[in-house]
């Protein structure tokens, strides 16, 4: 079974609120002193793939479309014991929209060769659009199952499990299929062994530019074709504190009830 896990490197979402700034000119989060990390849902996807490989065998390729620095995320994936890694260097728009990303990834996956299972994180921790998985399936012309947290296989094909409010849904799917992965207590990304971290720096990592792929590189570079970010701002939260007065407990409760009514009416 050939498995491709798509991963994205993002600005650390855990940067302290006070350090978080927006570059309003570029309409993006300012890098500041924050680090770049692998998007957590992508790591959940990789972990799910690794566990699946332990049970059913297969070969895992990790793939990223991003800047040169995304190599760090791919190396970490290799340290976690992915079999191969490929990076498509994005020399176009710094924030390509999900359509462009899906097109680039699809072209790279076709270049990698036969595939049975494509895993994608359910959304990224920076923009959080949650579109890439479905669009990628569309590009590749295969079905897509969303929000899965566990994958198994039997003689009929794959069993994909997802949690709903009412319980579990199990999908039977025949590869090839794109699956988006959400987090679960069982797919917490493993900490790689240091020995494997060291080895990961000696492994080869394939790098492509958009021109190496069989796709319309220019349109991907242009990106942002379907929507435009007009403005970006940090929501301002305001809290007001009000003391409810009254002579007795009863009157205070009454006043409180009246005040709640007023406030909710005003909303």
């Amino acid at each position: 079974m050939n498995i491709v896990v798509c991963i994205k490197q993002i600005l650390d979402p855990e940067v302290p609120a006070r350090d978080f700034r927006i570059d309003s000119e570029r309409r993006e989060a300012a890098r500041g002193s924050a680090n770049l990390v692998t998007n957590i849902f992508c790591e959940n996807a990789l972990e799910t793939a690794l566990q699946f490989r332990e049970r059913a065998g297969g070969r895992i390729t990790v793939l990223s479309f991003g800047s040169e620095s995304a190599e760090d995320s791919l190396r970490k994936a290799l340290a976690m014991k992915a079999d191969a890694a490929a990076l498509v260097i994005n020399d176009g728009h710094p924030h390509p929209d999900p359509f462009a990303v899906a097109r680039a990834l699809a072209a790279a996956i076709r270049k990698i060769g036969d595939f049975d299972l494509i895993l994608v994180g359910r959304e990224s921790g920076d923009w959080g659009a949650g579109q890439t998985g479905a669009l990628l399936a569309e590009e590749l012309g295969v079905p897509c199952v969303n929000f899965v947290d566990h994958i198994d296989s039997d003689s009929d094909g794959l069993r994909l499990k997802r949690q709903t409010d009412a319980g579990w849904e199990i999908f039977a799917a025949k590869p090839p299929v794109v699956v988006t992965i959400t987090n679960d207590e069982h797919n917490v990304p493993r900490v790689p062994k240091t020995r494997d971290v060291m080895m990961s720096y000696r492994q080869t990592l394939t790098k492509w530019t958009l021109d190496d792929l069989d796709t319309d590189a220019a349109s991907i570079r242009a990106a942002n074709s379907y929507y435009e970010i007009v403005d970006l701002l940090i929501p301002v939260k305001e809290t007001q504190c009000e003391f409810i007065e009254g002579d007795s407990l009863e009157s205070r409760v009454e006043n409180l009830a009246r005040r709640i009514q007023e406030v909710t009416d005003a909303l």
């Binding site: 006070r18 500041g32 900490v191 240091t194 020995r195």
Partner: protein
């Protein structure tokens, strides 16, 4: 008779003396083999140079092997050990005198020397040895302190040396009685026996009994010599050897460097991965139990016992030589046993125990023979972390956070410079001619309570007119927690990165309020090209006061006790500077807790342990808080961001008892220096 003629006949009443000499040969062969067997195993360990700086080593040998400074710290054990040990030395000297007199034909055993030394002194010390043996036996059989290991072997040893001493006195006494030795009274205890036996025994009986007991004594002595190297008595030879080859570096520099280009396995999970010195350490253990007695984790009831780690591995090593593993399987070869896994194979090295160590170094400080328990624990942790990635989740989070964010405090809402809000603190880019760098540290910047300490320190430096700067957002963890948890790889990367960065900025002097950062810069960065003059803030501030650059105006009335941070005290031998600050800032001297200075009790936060949730009934900080509350101090002064949070938590958990405020020494000084601050 003239005293100058005083002497005695060696081998009086003994025929066939040759038999004794004949016995000597197998005795020495067996004993020699006993030692050779041990040394042969050590030689299988990895290489390590422990013969450099001979003068310092000899000095250490004199203080700790000859004068036994550490052994005598424990008063009850110290007394009996001194009695037996000096008796042992005096009696060995006496035997040597006999040997020189008789076998070398140099008649030195005569006259005053014979009377004062060979008769009187030897007799008295012989008696004191018996007192020592009885004390030891009393301790073992009646008092039974928890820290000792109770083996038949230990009891046998006491019994045998007791018999040797008693038969020695009988031989002496009966000789004095039978020969009516005119100088007999110079051996007071032998003389007593002579006087007591005289009326009861005929000359013939005396002679016969003397000969019989003489041979018994001789056989016991030889037997003991032959047997000793196979028992814990081997420490008579191993202890001095171990002290001579002990590490001369401070405790803070005791972790082994790993060369990642060469290392076959990362960390240690077999005897083969230890150095020869580690293996020698296992053999040198005297089973005294001091290390475990002082171990904070053990004190609060965790399974960690440094003594048992050493002794279990000693047994493991000895069994492995015979190809035995886990008690019974004799199928393995010595080779595979030497290479087979040790973590969790014996109880003492279970991961639970290994993950309880705060790396406080109390064990190393307590050990009379300078065994290095803590670095071995870290060696095994390294294996778990780097080869297996198998370690507690919360520690994993801390390590991952250091990896991706440069600090271990995942989820902090603070930034690197938030503490400086409203202060005029410059970063090194703004002030590249600054004289000193204030290294804030992750704790000092990202843990709310400690930001106040950083503020106080910066304000004091400013007030004293020190030209200083900080790295600001460029600052990253020194790697101490990563190293102590066992991720040496991450540590080395950080050490190189930070050393380069500091060198690039031309940093020469570093001040830090974190003893962990202090230790890392001082003892560990030089290996990575980071050579700086490093000060703990207490040292630097004390100096500023001495130089008159800071003028304390008020003295607090509050009674203060000081809690020694392990990484400042035991790891780097600085006990006085922080106390000096306490003294400057308050009316009275600091109150000392029961355990302080070298024997201070850890806060529980070192070695990555502050990133672990301890079970509520087994918290090291809880025990330390108890010790703090035991004094009548109203404040406890600290000098470490980890101690700060651990002790605050510990005291809060005992809130009902008494409220004691935890304050850093810099805060105390700031309070005393600045008129507008209230305590």
């Amino acid at each position: 008779m003239n005293d100058s003629q005083a002497t005695r006949e060696v081998f009086w009443n003994i025929t066939q003396v040759w038999a004794m000499y004949a016995l000597l040969v197998p005795t020495l062969v067996i004993a020699g083999f006993g030692f050779y067997r041990r040394v042969r195993v050590w030689k299988r360990g990895l290489p390590l140079d422990r013969t450099d700086r001979p003068i310092e080593r000899i000095r250490k040998l004199i203080t700790h092997a000859l004068a036994q400074r550490r052994t005598t710290r424990d008063t009850s054990a110290g007394i009996f050990h001194t009695l037996i040990y000096t008796g042992f030395i005096i009696l060995t000297l006496a035997t040597t005198v006999v040997f020189i007199h008789q076998d070398f034909g140099l008649p030195i055993m005569r006259g005053k020397f014979y009377l004062y030394f060979q008769s009187f002194l030897v007799d008295v010390f012989g008696a004191l040895t018996i007192v020592g043996i009885l004390m030891a036996a009393f301790r073992r059989s009646i008092q039974r302190p928890k820290k000792l290991v109770y083996t038949d072997e230990a009891a046998m040893i006491l019994a045998v040396i007791f018999l040797i001493a008693v038969t020695g006195f009988l031989v002496e006494g009966w000789r004095i009685a039978a020969t009516s030795d005119p100088w007999g009274h110079w051996s007071p205890f032998g003389y007593l026996i002579a006087r007591a036996s005289g009326p009861l025994m005929s000359d013939e009986t005396l002679k016969q009994s003397h000969a019989a007991v003489w041979w018994t004594h001789a056989v016991l002595v030889f037997g003991f010599i032959a047997w000793a190297p196979y028992t814990k008595m081997a420490h008579v030879a191993f202890s001095p050897f171990n002290i001579y080859t002990a590490s001369l570096a401070p405790v803070g520099a005791s972790l082994r460097h790993i060369d990642f280009d060469k290392a076959e396995t990362l960390g240690v999970n077999s005897l083969a991965a230890f150095t020869w010195k580690d293996l020698a350490d296992f053999d040198a253990c005297t089973e005294c139990g001091r290390c475990t007695n002082f171990c904070p984790a053990n004190t609060v009831g965790k399974s960690l016992s440094p003594r048992d780690i050493i002794l279990d591995l000693q047994l493991f090593m000895r069994n492995s030589e015979r190809g035995i593993q886990n008690g019974n399987s004799a199928l393995r070869t010595p080779h595979s046993a030497f290479n087979s896994p040790i973590i969790g194979t014996v109880e003492a090295t279970s991961p639970d125990a290994l993950w309880a160590c705060t790396t406080c170094g109390a064990c190393m400080e307590a050990c009379p023979v300078f065994i290095e328990q803590m670095p071995k624990i870290v060696d095994m942790r390294r294996f778990l972390v780097m080869e297996e990635a198998d370690f507690p989740d919360t520690m994993q989070e801390a390590v991952t956070s250091i990896e991706s964010r440069g600090h271990p405090f995942r989820g902090t809402s603070l930034g690197r410079m938030d503490w400086a809000e409203g202060l005029n603190v410059q970063t090194i880019d703004q002030a590249d001619d600054a004289e000193v760098l204030l290294w804030v540290g992750c704790g000092g910047a990202l843990v709310e309570r400690n930001t106040r300490v950083t503020r106080a320190t910066a304000q004091l430096l400013e007030k004293a007119g020190v030209s200083f700067a900080v790295l600001g957002r460029e600052e990253k963890c020194t790697g101490d927690p990563a190293r102590r948890i066992g991720n040496e790889f991450l540590f080395q990367n950080l050490a190189k990165e930070n050393s380069d960065k500091l060198n690039r900025h031309g940093v020469k002097k570093i001040i830090t309020a974190c003893p962990h950062c202090f230790n890392t810069f001082r003892n560990e960065y030089p290996q990575f090209g980071g050579n700086f003059e490093v000060y703990h803030h207490s040292q630097y501030l004390a100096r500023l006061v001495d130089e008159g650059k800071l003028k304390p105006e008020k003295k607090s009335e509050k009674k203060v006790t000081f809690h020694d941070p392990c990484y400042l005290g035991r790891h780097n031998d600085e006990y006085d500077a922080p106390r000096q600050l306490v003294k400057i800032a308050s009316r009275s001297n600091p109150i000392e807790m029961k355990q302080s200075r070298e024997q201070s009790f850890c806060c529980g936060g070192g070695g990555g342990m502050s990133f672990i949730e301890e079970p509520p009934d087994k918290r090291v900080n809880g025990e330390r808080a108890r010790q703090i509350l035991e004094t009548d101090a109203e404040r406890v002064a600290v000098g470490c961001p980890f101690c700060m949070t651990m002790l605050e938590d510990g005291i809060n958990a005992r809130k009902g008892e008494r409220d004691v405020r935890v304050m850093d020494v810099a805060e105390l000084l700031w309070e005393s220096v600045s008129a507008d601050v209230r305590g």
